[in-house]
Structure formats: structure tokens, C-alpha cells
């Protein structure tokens, strides 16, 4: 437990905005850039933007989740951290679970905050923004879990980043369908399903990720 706390204390400053793996500010800016570009591309009709804006925020969030993947595991595996943890009897699963928490904290809440200016740019009303925010709260843990599993699986692969992006998109479709779908129906059912999916993914991620890290070490 003490070891895991020490690892969390190391992970958080590494992954949070301004951290040394500096990935987190970049996805946020990318997210805002998409929200900013969209009105230029489809034209400034307010009713069109208000109707489609929520969906755009979801797509932008999904794409932004791809960016930090290459920094999640590769440097630690390369520098021998996972070997040293294994020798101390710290299970890969536990390390991956801690990293999932740190990864989500580094991109889930900041993304929800960034949804505020994005909603302003797209002219979304308060009610829709509330649904988007709740949906992101339910969906981002699942996105983080998918990203983490893919990062662990592609850690030893050359050109793994591009591959990770390609792999994440289809796997994230269910989250998008339920999360963004809640916008159209306005109901809580979509968000609840999105949250249920997220929970399932979060429960699987440490085991899948841990096994993938062990396999990468053998290679």
C-alpha cells in the first residue's frame, strides 16, 4: 500500500498538466482547437451549432484521449521501472490500477472544465452542457481505461502510437453512442449505460494492462 502511494505520488506530477510527460496540456488544446475549428467549417448558424455542438465536444474528447497514450507506459518500461517494481513484489496490475487513476485525473476533469469554453464557442445552452458534462463524467473513465489497455498492449510495438489511435477509435464507439446519444434523447438512460460501460472497462483494465506489460517484458 505504501509502495502504491509512493507510485501515485510519482505518477500524478508526471501526468497532470504541466507535468514532465507534458502530454496533458496538449490534448486540452487539441480539444479546444477542434471546438474552435468546427464553426469555421460548418458555418456560423446558431441553431446548427447548438444542435450538433454536444456531439462535436464528444468527438473532440475522444480524439484528445488518443494523444497521451504513448507516454503512459513506454518510458517506464524502457527505464527499468517495471523490472524494479516486479522484483519488489509489486504486481503490474496494481501499478496499472494506480496509473489508471492518475491518467483519468490528468485528462477527465480537465476535459470537463475545457468543455465550458468549448460550449461557449459552439453556443450550446446550459441544459445541453449539463448533459455533456455528466456524460463526460460517466464516459471519460472508460476512455481512460481503453487508452491504458491499448497503451500497454502496444508498448513494445514500433509505431505503436499511430496503431493505438486506430485501435482506440472503434473500441470507444459504444461509449460515444451512449454518451453522445444521451444528448439526442435528453434522458439519463444513455448516461447510465455509458457509466456502466466505463465501470466494466475500469474493472478490466488493470488485469489486461498488467498481463500486457508482463508480455512486453518477456519480448
Amino acid at each position: 500500500m505504501r509502495a502504491l502511494l509512493a507510485i501515485l505520488r510519482r505518477d500524478l506530477p508526471l501526468l497532470l498538466p504541466g507535468g514532465q510527460r507534458g502530454g496533458t496540456l496538449l490534448p486540452l488544446l487539441f480539444f479546444l482547437a477542434v471546438a474552435m475549428l468546427y464553426p469555421f467549417a460548418v458555418g456560423p448558424q446558431p441553431e446548427l451549432l447548438a444542435r450538433t455542438g454536444g456531439g462535436v465536444i464528444w468527438v473532440a474528447a475522444l480524439l484528445a484521449a488518443i494523444l497521451p497514450l504513448d507516454r503512459l507506459f513506454a518510458p517506464d518500461l524502457e527505464h527499468g521501472f517495471f523490472d524494479q517494481w516486479a522484483l519488489r513484489g509489486i504486481a503490474e496490475e496494481a501499478v496499472v490500477a494506480v496509473r489508471l487513476l492518475a491518467h483519468w485525473l490528468s485528462f477527465g476533469p480537465p476535459l470537463m472544465l475545457a468543455a465550458l469554453p468549448a460550449a461557449g464557442l459552439l453556443g450550446i445552452d446550459g441544459e445541453t452542457l449539463w448533459t455533456v458534462g455528466l456524460g463526460l463524467l460517466a464516459g471519460t473513465p472508460g476512455l481512460a481505461a481503453i487508452g491504458l489497455m491499448i497503451a500497454a498492449l502496444t508498448v513494445g510495438v514500433r509505431g505503436g502510437t499511430a496503431l493505438a489511435g486506430l485501435l482506440l477509435i472503434p473500441l470507444a464507439v459504444p461509449l460515444l453512442v451512449f454518451g453522445a446519444g444521451a444528448l439526442a434523447t435528453g434522458g439519463a438512460g444513455g448516461i447510465a449505460l455509458c457509466g456502466a460501460l466505463s465501470l466494466l472497462l475500469v474493472a478490466i483494465a488493470p488485469f489486461a494492462g498488467g498481463a500486457a506489460i508482463r508480455a512486453a517484458r518477456e519480448g
Binding site: A3, R9, H79, G80, F81, D83, Q84, A86, R88
Partner: protein
Amino acid sequence: MEPCRLAATDLACRRGERLLFRGLSLDLGSGAALQVAGPNGTGKSSLIRILAGLLRPFAGAVERVGGVGLLDERPALDGHQPLAKALGFWGRIDRDQESAVERLGLEPLLDLPVRFLSTGQRKRAALARLVGQRAPIWLLDEPLNGLDVHAVEMCEALVAEHCAAGGLAVIASHQPFALPGLITLTLAEFAP
């Protein structure tokens, strides 16, 4: 120090399509020190990783009693962190009280980010991490690489102390390693 034993029976190692060694057995107890010698590419590092349990042997089994400390070319220290913080991370995990920082002459370097350290300085930092771990089994992969004459003597003295205190050490190195009672295992004899 807790009792320790490291035994391997009939180990074989295959990397890719190539069989590196086979039929290797060893049995080390408290206080033993073994040097694995051999030219590059004979499987010294692979043997160390198999003994550490980080690599599955192609055949055979390894039995370990006691914790394992590993020193290889990767120091597992965060490059952007000052050395004090990078070592402090492992200190928290290992509950390190008496650190070897002073003995290894690392004190003047504590404020420097790890990425600015030279190869030898990094190796010394990794040695400090290893000492702080207080594991009875030491597996050292090319511990002398990049060390100057003084640091080589320091490293040899640390291993000698470790063995005298009841630990055991396996040293994979193509360089001579001065240690009383050091057994040598020539890996080339186990090549297929």
C-alpha cells in the same frame, strides 16, 4: 540479513531462434559470490534476467529464497528529477534508512537532474538504490561499466561487504572483478 539461496537447475535460454546456453545449473547460498564471464552475446544479461525471474527460461527452473536486487544498464531513475528526489522515490518504497549516498560520493550531485549525470555517476546512483533495497540476493549486470578506478574499488568493496553480511551476489561482467572467494562461471562452456 535474512537467509538466502539462489539455485538453478538445467537452465536453457533461447532468444529468437538462437539457443544461447543450456544445461546450466548452480546453487548459491549465503555469502557466495559468482562471476558469470563470457564475451558479448553469450547470454550473460539473459541469465541475470532469468535468475531475477523477469525472463522465463526456455527450460529448467530457478529457485529463490530471499528478495532480489537487480542492477543493470537501466537505473530506473527519473531523468528530469533531481537525484535526491529520484532516489527518494525508491527510498519510500524500500523504507530506506541508511543510505549509501555519502559512501558513493553522490552528495554533491543530489541537486542535479538525473539526465545530466554521466554514465558512471548514474551507475553509482543505481548502486545506492540497490544498497537501499537491502535485498539479500544481488544480481549485477555489468556493474563496472562506466565506473572510474575509484568507483570500481568502491563497488567491489560494497559487494564484498554484502557477501560478508550473509548476502549473495551474481555478477555478470566481462571485466575482472576483484572479490575474495569469487567463483567464476564461464558461460561459453554451456553453449550448445
